[in-house]
């Protein structure tokens, strides 16, 4: 809730005294343009207004409207607060304002075009060259880049303050990355749902069409008939996640991260499971520097290598242009009028707030002597990008800015406080008056520059607050522009509708490869944890110390299998049993340094999930993070007992079952889910085949006299969760051939290879739909082939028979047995190779698109 107002005496609602606000001139009589609204509010009872206010709060929660504040490390979500009383701007004032906003945006657009071309404005001495060259958002790499129609700015915004005498002044430019448009639309939506009556007395301009206008402008830059437009944002946690998702959804374009894009032959493609889709227009919503590691030295390793060169060659259009941030340099503000005059040869229509750039010693002196009446701001927007200070942080902000002023005065500008005009606002059950600040949006391009009729109004927390920084704590107001002649809003919008427009076609999109790949690996990691947990649990049941040498040797192949399927190849190669199996088990469960250990798998699965937070349900996220946290909580002691390890394994089995169940139950069964399932099934198939690969040779050899090792097949079946199935199927003790039949060929036992392959088929069919994957490049083909060959495999000639009662061993000489073992191993190895090849095919076909030909 807003802080309790201090200076402004609470006004009773019934009286609704206007005072000197934007609604009136001090008497009880409101201005004409707002009279119908005031009358309506006066008539409404106190109770009704309070009720509406509560309804707005609930709606805001339901719609999940929130903004984030603070630094990256501690993103804190706040619910959006909307005032019940809208801000109404005098239509006369607005007409003037609108013209001024357009003029300003056009001039700054020309400034950007000039700055990346010949820099005439510096040559002619209008602005000093350090203003451009010392700005970190000025990108040398963008020199000479041509934007279509010289449009560097598409959607831009400025912050405005209206002083008490009715003068509007610009305090900040936001031409590069304007935030807040989603809140404008959302405010209107919430107010009209919660308080529809308030709209009745006063016809106002609608705002909802603005996002489709933006989509249209973006579409107009495309050269193809059915263009692909994407909204490009940063990877990871977002300051403006709500805004971005909302905007992308409203515009009907996919929201992508750098990892979703790929440059090939100087064209930009979106990687989807359906193949590569050529990108025509990128709507940029994140800082330029992070987007191309080749072009920008400080980009780090993220980004799309080569993106800037595609822009240079004109194969993709980026809006707002790379490097547009320089228009938002606050040290440019004092030069605003000169810039407008220089480029447009017109008289500036809209004033800019007085701004002192502290680089100049005289201005610095002045600022220091008047520091209590000044608002300090950083020159470059990076320092406060997306940062919204809440009440508690304001003192920190002031402190930080003052120390910056001491150390680097050239990075600070100062603006004298402006006595902002106040707007009535509902606080609990009274009307209070608060200074209000406006962010106005304009849209350039497509031959029709326009200003959003309205904007984002924020109000200060108290009547005497001069801190017109992005202070969201005071809440927002819907902003109304009454239609000038009182008639229904028609003139401008109709005209816009009649204009021949390029239709923004709705395209349906398949999951992007990044999302699909993360889900695929999440599936593999979850399955790997489960599989390892299951194996270890059975294996450490044997009290190793009390086993005889022979018993140990019979169980050792199972350990080898477990080692093989978890990538511990060294251990798998050991033919003699290790004495300290418990430490091996500890490593496999708890050693975070081993990439195949359960704890590493849990962490990897969690990392996969965090990369695609917005694509998995909160429930899945919570089960995943609980699993990882539980694994982390187990102390990795060098002497963890077998019981403790067993408990851990049991927990792993439960937790993974929970994850799988939650995913199946709460996630849409779309492309991403198919990939998750494929990950699970492929991992399981690989594990089963690997375990068998270690167990088969010693078992076959045990049929000869020379080898007295007789691997424990019953435990093997338990390890793979299939003993029950075996007993149902054969009702006998365990024999090798039957065991192999069950684990290779059976299509109903979840652990068997045949089952995994068979289950993969529908998922692969769904994924390959609509793609051009044929022949050897198709994973579906490979799996189908494997499945068929497994079905038709005759196991009888492969394995020696043993009849317990009559000793038939003599009929199978040792040489033959050895040959059998070799053959069985060859088949088993073949399966492993094919499964690994299937993984490569999947990667190529759906994730990395290495071998696919671009459409």
């Amino acid at each position: 809730m807003p802080r309790k107002p201090t200076a402004s005496p609470a006004r009773s609602l019934n009286g609704f005294i206007i005072r000197q606000t934007e609604f009136g001139d001090g008497s009880t009589k409101p201005h004409d343009f707002v009279k119908p609204l005031v009358d309506m509010l006066r008539k409404s009872g106190r109770k009704q207004l309070q009720q509406r206010q509560a309804r707005i709060r609930n709606l805001s929660r339901e719609l999940d409207t929130h903004f984030t504040s603070g630094q990256q490390q501690s993103l804190e979500e706040h619910n959006w607060q909307l005032d019940t009383i809208p801000r109404v701007i005098n239509p006369e004032e607005w007409r003037h304002l609108e013209a001024g906003l357009l003029q300003r945006a056009q001039a700054f657009n020309l400034l950007l075009a000039d700055v990346y071309d010949k820099r005439r404005i510096i040559q002619d001495g209008v602005i000093p060259c350090e203003l451009v060259f010392d700005d970190p958002t000025f990108l040398l790499a963008c020199q000479g880049i041509k934007q279509p129609d010289h449009q560097f700015i598409t959607l831009g915004a400025v912050d405005l303050v209206r002083s008490r005498d009715g003068r509007w002044q610009v305090t900040t430019n936001h031409y590069a990355l304007p935030y807040g448009i989603s809140f404008v639309l959302q405010n209107r939506r919430m107010l009209s749902q919660a308080f529809p009556e308030v709209f009745e007395p006063l016809p106002i301009h609608p705002v909802t069409g603005f996002t489709s206008e933006l989509a249209e402008v973006l579409t107009s830059y495309a050269t193809t008939s059915n263009p692909l437009i994407v909204m490009l944002t940063r990877a990871g946690l977002q300051n403006n996640q709500f805004e971005e998702t909302f905007l992308a959804r409203r515009m009907g374009v996919p929201l992508v991260e750098p990892g979703d894009l790929l440059v090939r032959n100087n064209k930009v493609y979106l990687k989807t499971v359906g193949g590569l889709e050529r990108v025509d227009v990128i709507y940029r919503r994140t800082n330029s520097r992070g987007l191309d590691p080749i072009a920008f030295r400080s980009a780090g390793v993220l980004g799309v290598p080569g993106l800037l060169n595609c822009v240079r060659k004109g194969t993709v259009k980026v809006m707002n242009a790379f490097g547009a941030g320089i228009a938002d340099n606050k040290a440019l503000l004092p030069y605003s009028d000169r810039i407008i005059k220089y480029y447009l040869q017109e008289k500036p229509l809209l004033a800019t707030a007085p701004t002192f750039w502290c680089r100049d010693p005289d201005q610095l002196d002045y600022v220091k002597t008047h520091i209590d009446r000044m608002l300090l701001k950083p020159v470059h927007r990076q320092r406060d990008a997306g940062r919204n200070y809440t009440t508690g942080q304001r003192q920190t902000y002031v402190r930080e800015m003052r120390s910056l002023l001491e150390q680097h005065p050239e990075l600070v500008v100062a603006q004298p406080f402006i006595d902002a005009s106040q707007s009535p606002s509902l606080y609990k059950d009274t009307v209070v008056h608060r200074p209000a600040y406006l962010r106005a949006f304009c849209l350039l391009g497509n031959g029709h520059d326009q200003v959003l009729p309205g904007g984002l109004t924020r109000q200060a927390t108290s009547a005497k607050s001069y801190h017109y920084i992005a202070d969201l704590a005071g809440g927002a107001k819907d902003t109304w522009i009454p239609v000038a002649d009182g008639k229904a809003p028609a003139a401008t919008t109709r005209k816009a509708l009649i204009r021949a427009r390029k239709r923004v076609e709705q395209r349906s999109f398949r999951a992007t490869s990044r999302v699909a790949e993360q889900l695929y690996w999440m599936g593999r990691y979850v399955e790997r944890s489960e599989h390892t947990g299951r194996m270890i649990r059975i294996l450490i049941e044997f009290a190793w110390g009390s086993l005889s040498e022979r018993e140990r040797r019979n169980i050792w192949p199972l350990w080898q299998g477990a080692a093989l399927s978890t990538g511990m190849t060294e251990l798998a190669r050991k033919t003699a049993p290790t004495t300290d199996v418990l430490s091996v088990a500890r490593t496999l469960v708890l050693d975070a340094r081993k990439s195949a250990s359960i704890i590493s798998c849990a962490q990897s699965a969690l990392r996969n999930g965090s990369e695609i937070r917005e694509f998995i349900t909160p429930e899945v996220w919570s089960t995943l993070s609980r699993f990882a946290a539980a694994m982390d909580a187990i102390p990795h002691k060098s002497r963890s007992s077998a019981t403790r390890l067993q408990d851990a394994c049991l927990h792993v089995i439960d937790a993974t079952a929970l994850i799988n169940g939650t995913i199946n139950r709460t996630m849409p069964h779309d492309d991403g889910w198919e990939c998750y399932r494929i990950g699970i099934l492929l991992e399981r198939a690989i594990s089963t085949v690997n375990v068998l690969n270690a167990v088969i040779p010693p078992t076959i050899l045990s049929y000869s006299d020379e080898h007295d090792q007789d691997p424990d097949l019953t435990s093997l079946l338990r390890m793979l969760g299939s003993l029950d199935a075996y007993q149902r199927e054969y009702r006998s003790r365990t024999y090798l051939r039957q065991t192999i039949d069950l684990l290779w060929k059976n299509q109903e036992i979840p652990s068997s290879l045949g089952f995994c392959l068979f289950q993969m088929l529908p998922h692969l069919t769904a994924l390959e739909q609509g793609t051009k994957l044929r022949g050897r490049r198709s994973p579906l083909n490979l799996i189908t082939k494997m499945h068929k060959s497994i079905e038709s495999l005759q196991t009888e000639p492969l394995f020696p028979k043993r009849n317990i009662d009559s000793d038939l061993l003599e009929s199978t000489p040792l040489k033959k047995i050895e040959a059998m073992a070799r053959k069985a191993v060859a088949i088993s190895q073949g399966y492993i190779q094919q499964l690994n090849h299937a993984h490569e095919l999947l990667e190529d076909a759906f994730f990395s698109h290495l071998s696919s030909t671009a459409k």
Partner: protein, 355 residues
């Protein structure tokens, strides 16, 4: 598996092949049409290199007819332990045609074969770029060029004015050289020079004298030691140890010049290490790939100074790219997807040619 994006770092270390030839050219060379046959795989140009038309040809009548021709081979091979994919690279290794040199032939070969595109960057460098999406185990970039060079001298403009006057003239038109006055991450200014406790440039000195003295001072007081630093060694360490290679000396000289308000830029290029004509001692820094400095003089002249060899960059220097520091001119800047194990091999040779 999680994949790593790793930056390739191009190295300046290289081995010189010593098979020089002595020759002066009598007739103008006419281009061999083979070199100009452009297709997607090979890109050749010499006329395309943008001449710096604003610069005046240094005129010393005695040497005007003398020029040298060098044949330059620069081959870079990356071998990856596991196949790399999605390689993307930007090359800055094409020599430029300007008042001091003319590129007569150029040929660039990339394996695996891939289409090449190019653009001119902010500093006027000719930049070529390529992408290799498919899996590959090696990446080889092979550039050959034939460049004609002429001797260079300190322009008259520098001889008649003092440092203070030069500074004043430069102050009025900063647009052309402002970026060459500012510090960069590799070339910090002011504070970094404190350990020297020295006033390098006096305002009352004639400009040419000040520049040549500085050039000589670095030559005499800094120890050249091949392999003593890497591309990422900070200037601070170089200053503390008073030891480095040509790249470090260039950075040091830039730092001093910019601190004293004289705009200067980093030059990457090649140098003929041994003069085959005389039994001259080897020019130091001469692992064929070389780096030196260019100073901006009033009137728009750039003059090249080579502190590693205590001379004006002349006919045995072949200029490739310019920038604020090494990072603006790195010969190959790229990324690939794959494991981080890679082996790099660079072969550079500069051979004087007889026509």
């Amino acid at each position: 598996m999680p994949m790593n994006y790793l930056k390739m770092r191009s190295s300046v270390t290289s081995r010189l092949r010593q098979n020089n030839e002595i020759l002066y050219l009598a007739t103008k060379w006419s281009p061999d049409p083979e070199w100009y046959r452009g297709n997607n795989e090979f890109l050749s140009h010499s006329a395309k290199c943008r001449p710096d038309s604003c610069l005046n040809r240094a005129s010393k009548s005695a040497a005007i007819h003398r020029f040298m021709i060098f044949r330059i081979t620069h081959k870079t091979v990356y071998r990856y332990k596991t196949p790399a994919s999605e390689s993307y690279g930007e090359l800055r290794n094409c020599p430029q045609s300007n008042h001091a040199q003319t590129v007569r032939k150029r040929r660039l070969q990339i394996e695996p074969k891939t289409p090449l595109r190019h653009y001119y960057d902010f500093f006027g460098n000719y930049v070529e770029f390529f992408s290799i999406p498919k899996r590959h185990e090696t990446l080889s970039v092979h550039s050959t060029a034939e460049v004609e060079t002429t001797p260079q001298f300190m322009p008259d403009a520098a001889q008649t004015i003092t440092v203070a006057e030069a500074r004043q003239i430069l102050q009025t038109r900063q647009l052309n050289h402002y970026v060459y006055l500012r510090p960069t991450s590799m070339v910090p200014l002011h504070q970094i020079l404190q350990p020297f406790k020295r006033d390098f440039i006096k305002s009352s000195q004639p400009l040419d004298q000040a520049l040549l003295q500085l050039n000589q001072w670095i030559y005499k007081n800094m120890k050249y030691q091949s392999g003593s630093t890497t591309v990422s060694t900070p200037l601070e360490t170089v200053i503390r140890k008073r030891t480095g290679v040509c790249q470090d000396f260039a950075h040091l000289m830039l730092s001093i010049l910019r601190t004293y308000g004289i705009p200067a830029r980093y030059v990457s290029g090649y140098i003929e290490a041994y003069d085959p004509e005389t039994a001259d001692p080897a020019l130091v820094g001469a692992t064929a790939s070389h780096a030196w400095v260019e100073v901006y003089l009033p009137g728009g002249h750039w003059v090249g100074l080579d502190p590693t060899n205590n001379q004006i960059a002349g006919e045995r220097h072949v200029r490739v790219a310019v920038g604020r520091d090494y990072r603006d001119v790195s010969p190959l800047r790229g990324t690939y997807k794959g494991a981080s194990d890679q082996k790099l091999q660079v072969i550079v040779s500069v051979t004087r040619k007889r026509s």
